[in-house]
Each structure stands twice: as C-alpha cells, then as structure tokens.
Amino acid sequence: MEKRLLLGDEAIALGAIHAGLSGVYAYPGTPSTEITEFIQTNKEAIEKGIRSRWCTNEKTAMEAALGMSYCGKRALVCMKHVGMNVCADAFVNSAITGVNGGLVVLAADDPSMHSSQNEQDSRFYGKFAMIPIFEPSNQQEAYDMMRTAFELSESLKEPVMLRVVTRLAHSRAAVTVGKAIDQNKLTPSTDNAHWVLLPGNARRNYLDLISKQEDMLKASYESNTNDMITINNSDNGKWMGIVACGIGYNYVREALNGIKNNETNYMILKITQYPLPTEAIQKMAAACKSILVVEDGQPVVEEEVKKLVNTSYKLEGRLTGKLPRTGELNPDNVSLALGKENKPVFDPAQNMAGRPPQLCQGCGHRDVYAAIGEVVKEYENARVFGDIGCYTLGALPPFKALASCVDMGASITMAKGAADAGLWPAIAVIGDSTFTHSGMTGLLDAVNDKSNVTIIISDNLTTGMTGGQDSAGLNKYEAICLGLGVEPEHVRVVVPLPKNMPEITQILREEINYKGVSVIIPRRECIQVAARHARERAKQNNK
C-alpha cells in the first residue's frame, strides 16, 4: 500500500477521486480551498476528466452538484462553513428531493475564526436537513470516509455531509491510499415525482426522509470509526465517561497520555458519524459517574446528551464552562478539563509586538484605500461599507477605512440601505470575485431604486485572499454593470497606481456627487498572482 503525506483537505480530495468522483463544485474559502485545488491539479483526476472548475458561489456549486447526482454520478460540493448559509436553500431541499448518484457536501468549519467572521457549526445544518454527518478525527479517516460517505449517500438516496475543522483541513500526516474505483455510468433519474418539489410531492418526500432516520442511526451504530474505547487504570471502580467528537478525540488521548499516576478509568465514545448513537451514551451514563463532551465548534452534541440524562447527572462540556465556550479545542484546554494543567515554563517575551496581517506592498487595494481616504475626509458623514476579501484589511491601520464588513456582498446592499435612510456619501468597496459571488443582485436593487450610492469594485483579476483562484467574472465587469442597468457614463475604470492618484480622487468626487448609482472599477492584477504568472511564463519559455 502506498503512503502519502497529505493535508486533511488533500486526503479528502484524493479520497473522493478514488471513490469514483465525477465532479467537484466549490467556491474558494479557508479552510476548504485546497480540496478543489488538489483535484484541479491531480494527474489522476485530470486523466479521469473529473469536473473541477471554480463556481461563482456556493449555491451555484450545490445546485450543479445536485444536477450531476440527478444523472447518477458522484458529486462533491466543498465550502467553508459560512458557505453553507449561501447554499442553504439548495442544501436543505436536496434532502427532500433525495439524490441519485452519491452526493457529499463538505463543510469546513473554522472554530477560533482564524479566517472567518463567525464560528457557526455545520453539524447544525446537517441535523436541520436530517441527513447523516461524517466527522473524521484524522487524515486517514478523512481519506477512507469519502468512499463510505458516497456509498451511504447512494444506499440511502440522500445527500450526506462531511464536516471538518481548520486543524484537520490544514494539518498534514501520512495516509495509506488505495486504488480508484470507476465512475458511475450516466443514468439520469426518471422519477420526476421525487425531483419536482410541488407541495404534494414534497410532503411525500419529507415523510420518506423521516422514515429513513432509523437507517441513518443504524449506519452510525455500524460505523467502524464510531468506537467505544475503555482505558482501565485501576480496580477502584471509578469510571469517567468522555464523548469525543472528530479531532476532539486526539486531544483526549494526548491529555490522558500525559497524566501521571492516573487512577481514573475511562469510557471514551469516539464519534465520527451522526446521528448520535444515543443508546451507547445512555449505557455510558449508567456506567460512569460523569460525562465530559469534547467537541470542536458549538455544543451540538452536549445539548443532545443533556436530553438523555437527568438534570442531576454530572454532564460537562462547553456549556458548563469545563471547556471554553468559544474558540477551538487544543491540547491545553482539553488537558485542563481532564485535570492536568499545561503550564508555560518561560515567561512571555518582553520585546514583543503584534504582527497583524496586512495588504502586500504594491497591492492595488492600497492605492484604492489611499484615494478613498483622501476623498472621504472632505465629506462629514461619508461611510465606507466593506466586504469579504484581502481588502477587508482596509479596516486596519494605516487605512482604518471601513465602517462595516458582514458577509459576501453586503457592502453594496448595506450602502444602499444606508443611502435609503438618508446617509451620504454611502460608498461600497467590494472585490471582483465577491461581486460576482453575491454583489450583482444587490446592485440590481440599487439600480431599480436609483439609490444614491458609489460602488467600488476593486478588481485584481483573481480571488486573492484564498490564494489567487479564478475570478468568475473576469473581463466581464463593465458588461455586467451595464447589463444590470448602471448608466454607461457612471461606470468608470481606473488603474490603481500612486501616479494616477489625482485622476482616481477626481473620479471619486464626481461619482460621489452624482445622485444615483455609480460604479468605479479600479483594475490591476493582484501582485502575488502577477508574480505567479510571470514564473509560469518563464517556465514555459525555458521548455
């Protein structure tokens, strides 16, 4: 068997390729991006013709994957946790239609918000849609589970979720890999009643979904990675129960290895597949004096276990403060919950300063913010509504330019709402990729309302923050804005460079003073991507 050193994300990707995947659909988002990137560049995936181009957003990705599944083929949708919000309509309804070919929805959560604006737990979505959820505890399980997940999806005829967190997505370990199986043949569904969600059909399908819940629970019991492990340290009869989900299990084992002269015995239920095997937990509660729930993200399992035991039972976890209510698990906080404190030996350094991320030197967004900074000083009530991307860093010094940053596309619609309320100037700053992801519909609203807003689409020809992936609207931005009804004389394109500052600031003033929708497009390629393109060209020339 071949062993390969893989990131969690790469293990998922290779697992999918080897499980007979026909297409991956995704919008980039940390920590999920590397899954699709791996499939895009993997030789085996290219030879097999696996569809892998980036999608405009998570909703288009989810729906296209459902279309592929409709045809009997295996499809994978990948996104970061907040992408689940974007595709929620399609996602929840895909459990009502059910699937034909296997459909796996991969959600990568980001507890501690390393690169995110919240730490929502995607397991809630899985539960909400009433489908099985897989949560691997390591890279090997991530690889192996992909095949199990596709098989379960096809046997239940339902989508399944695979949930990971940043620390698994972005951690590398050796994985034993197998051989690929063939892709499914094209077998489009003929069962229209299942796919046309008119109320009459949907009611039947919903009952069908509910009737499958028992099979889903049975699959959780039969899972070979949902394991009960006992650690017998003494004959004193003192037993502690631990429910350890996903990578939480690793921190538990790490901590227990570090406790010297430990006389407690442990029953550990390792959870890697949901619905939660509740009977096993009830047995644990009967045998142990207390239960600690160790889960990364929100207290999803802890809340469920709470319902299984009586109110006087000693149940601990994030809700009781035994583990921190927010932020990711780590070996230290899990160790502390198990009774051992890991203390630093050395005091914190004296000569230390924070080093926050910042826009690259030479980045076009810098010139955009320099111009905005100069112009907004001239208006008493000017507000700049920001969006999601590298340019969110415009909120930090030295620019401190942004009044808000909420979700993909919200810059335009919040500026519109603020303008409706009477604020002027109301300025939106949004990136090219974010604009096509979720900004276009908001722009249409602004045009229809003749809102007095100035929208800056800072176009760096790429999806920069996640590492320079294709931008869906490349070379189409003026056409999109005109098509949505922005007046041609108020679609202005500039090149963000220090030498063009007088021109850019002048155009900004003009468009702020215009009482209607203006779009300014500062356009210059991301310097990281430009450097990569230069390297690729040099490589081509050397051949």
């Binding site: 690169s115 972005h170 590398r172 084992r253 790490e254 230290d332 300063a353 080093r355 991320p357 923050m465």
Partner: protein, 191 residues
C-alpha cells in the same frame, strides 16, 4: 522518541518549504509526523507558525501542548520569542538574527537580541550567508542546516537527502545551491 518543533516567521518567508523537507525525510524514514499549518488571512505579512511533530510512537494531537516544544526554528528573531511559552525547559531556539520590520512598533533590536541570547539558542544571519553563497533564496536551507543536528529523530544525513529530493525537479544547480546552504548551516550549528 519524539521531537516537537515550532516553525515560525512572517508570512511569505518560506517556513513551509522547511516543513516540506522535514516531512519528506520523516516519510522516507518511516517516522510518524503531524504538521499543522496556517493558511489564509495571516499569510499576508502577519506572523505565521507551523506545529511539526515527529515521533517513533503514534502522535495524537496535531498541535503541541504548552511547555513541550523541543525546538523553535524561526526565520525571524522576534517571531522566535513569540512562542517561548510553548518551549520545554530543555528546548532550543534556532533563529535567523535579521529582523523583518513591517510594523511601526518593532521592539528595540539590541534588547530583543539580548533577551534571545538568554535562552538556549543558536543564531545566525542566514540571509548574509545565503547572499555570500550567491544564493539568496536558499536562506531557509541555511536555517534548516542549523536546526538539523537538533532534530535527532532524523539524522542530518536523512535531512540532507530530503533537500536533494525536494529540489530535484528544479534542476541540479538548484539542488547544489540548497545543499551548500544546508551544509553551511550544519557547520555553523556545531560551532
């Protein structure tokens, strides 16, 4: 036997290529490895670190517990100090001495180097050496060379071989330049 390593520096300094080489050597030698990286926002000129765990026994957590890090390998002196809370009592810091100043409140350099010198450490201006070797891009290999004798779970020779394997696809000249840089680092480390 285990070695827990923190690799650190500033986003864009190339700490992940050091991790790749140690990873290659570990896989070749059949040593267990887990390596947690940071991707995304912090790569834009912010502080970055990677937890790299090597062991002959199974490794559970992807992250190193506080107070158990054996070696801090840093591309930047202040960044080396950022993680001393994770260092074990016998732990060593292997660091570049040249500050990367991209913040207005960077601490006083003399005081910083003084604080660093009180720790168990090996320090060197790796960029000066790489420039002297006419191979400025291989500064991180000088650093890996300096760290090599401290990794112990893997031998210096195993790491050296991994340098050639990883750079092989870039041609012989690149391999040679990086091996030279690595060797200079090993030499400096033994002084």
């Amino acid at each position: 036997m285990k070695k827990d390593i923190i690799l650190c520096g500033v986003g864009g300094q190339g700490i992940l290529s050091i991790a790749t080489i140690i990873g290659e050597a570990a896989t070749e030698a059949g040593i267990n490895l887990k390596q947690a990286e940071v991707h995304g926002m912090s790569q834009r000129g912010g502080d970055v670190q990677s937890n790299l765990r090597l062991s002959t026994d199974p490794i559970w957590s992807d992250q190193i517990p506080t107070g158990e890090t054996d070696v801090i390998i840093s591309m930047e002196p202040m960044e080396a100090l950022r993680y001393i809370g994770y260092l074990s009592p016998e732990g060593t810091i292997i660091t570049n001495t040249k500050p990367f100043v991209n913040i207005p409140n960077y601490p006083d350099e003399a005081a910083l180097m003084n604080e660093l010198s009180e720790m168990n450490n090996v320090q060197l201006d790796i960029e000066a050496i790489a420039t002297e070797l006419k191979s400025p891009k291989s500064a991180n290999m000088v650093l890996l060379g300096m760290a090599a004798p401290y990794i112990e779970v893997l031998s210096v020779e195993q790491l050296r071989k991994a340098v050639s394997v990883i750079f092989a696809r870039k041609g012989e000249a690149v391999v040679e330049a990086n091996l030279k840089a690595f060797d200079r680092g090993v030499e400096a480390s033994k002084k």
